[in-house]
């Protein structure tokens, strides 16, 4: 086996391997800047939705459309997946590669469950409720905002899935650790955005 710069000289992983190198620390700072930008992006989509949510163009309104038990199930799944990614990071801090991969795997499976619910929901709306992308200003704003979040979930699943593969190929090192940490932050951020979506889109849609 060849030794690379990725492995610490002592052969032991530092306590917080994601912050052990300058590159790792820069990655975290850079990722926070990205998340600040994502906040602005979702902020503009929320603003558009809030401005247009009453414009139903004689199509279905939010109150007629939304089914809260389904939204509650999606919320619960995403919240649990945020907790499992916390457990993944704690396994990483213990230096346990297999437990880390397992918790990330559970996170990915829960993410797939969330995505399945969302696809089912959109299918129901388009096919059975005649609520398509071009039905009304409300429908366009709804699909753009919620669909954008769903696309983030899909990207996160792909990303974390690839990182699990890399953990088995390259092991847990000071190079792979920041990638794991940053993807877990991304996953928490997706959960944070969902908190605003279920509040602003679904619950406020039911209230009026």
């Amino acid at each position: 086996m060849t030794t690379s710069h990725a492995e610490p000289v002592s052969g032991q992983l530092p306590h917080e391997p994601e912050k052990a190198t300058l590159e790792g620390r820069n990655k975290l700072i850079g990722f926070w800047l990205f998340l600040g930008g994502e906040t602005v992006l979702f902020g503009t989509l929320f603003a558009t939705f809030l401005a247009l949510r009453g414009q139903t163009n004689e199509g279905p309104s939010a109150n007629e459309l939304f089914h809260l038990p389904l939204v509650a199930a999606a919320t619960f799944i995403l919240l649990v997946s945020s907790l499992t990614s916390v457990f993944a990071i704690q396994a990483m801090h213990r230096g346990n590669r297999n437990a880390l991969a397992l918790w990330l795997g559970i996170t990915v499976v829960l993410g797939l469950g969330f995505l399945g619910i969302e696809i089912y929901e959109f299918y129901e709306y388009v096919v059975h409720k005649e609520f398509g992308m071009t039905t009304s200003a409300f429908s366009s704003a709804f699909y753009t905002l919620v669909g954008f979040h769903g696309a983030h979930v899909a990207f996160g699943i792909l990303w974390i899935g690839l990182i699990i593969g890399q953990l088995f190929r390259k092991g847990l090192t000071v190079v792979t650790a920041p990638k794991v940490y940053v993807s877990a932050m991304y996953w928490h951020f997706i959960d944070v955005v969902w908190v605003f979506i279920f509040t602003v889109v679904y619950l406020l849609g039911k209230v009026g």
Partner: protein, 106 residues
């Protein structure tokens, strides 16, 4: 440990202790309770629409603060830049939302 190894690490003043899962499970239960309050308030309905809306928004903001603080570690030391980035992001986002709520249908 070689010199190269030391120079590559952050200075650690105290001995590092690995944190347990308890704190994060508490945050999780807190988030579940806030979510249940929000859903229950809408399910019950009828009370007062503007009160319900304020309650929903407060529940959401509380949950986001707790998750950003504990799960994303923003409350930990050395997070000044992340706080600045996120605060500026939320500032621009809320400006857009105020604009959409009050100016679009002036």
């Amino acid at each position: 440990m070689s010199v190269q190894d030391k120079s590559d690490q952050q200075p650690v003043k105290h001995r590092h202790r690995t944190e347990g899962p308890q704190k994060h499970v508490v945050v999780f239960i807190f988030s579940i309770i806030l979510t249940l309050i929000a859903f229950a308030a809408v399910k019950a309905g009828g009370v007062n629409t503007s009160f319900t809306i304020i309650l929903l928004v407060v529940m959401a903001i509380l949950q986001v603060f707790v998750q950003l603080g504990y799960w994303m570690h923003m409350k930990d030391k050395g997070h000044l830049m992340p706080i600045l980035f996120m605060a500026f992001g939320f500032f621009v986002a809320f400006t857009c939302i105020i604009m959409a709520l009050y100016w679009v249908w002036w």
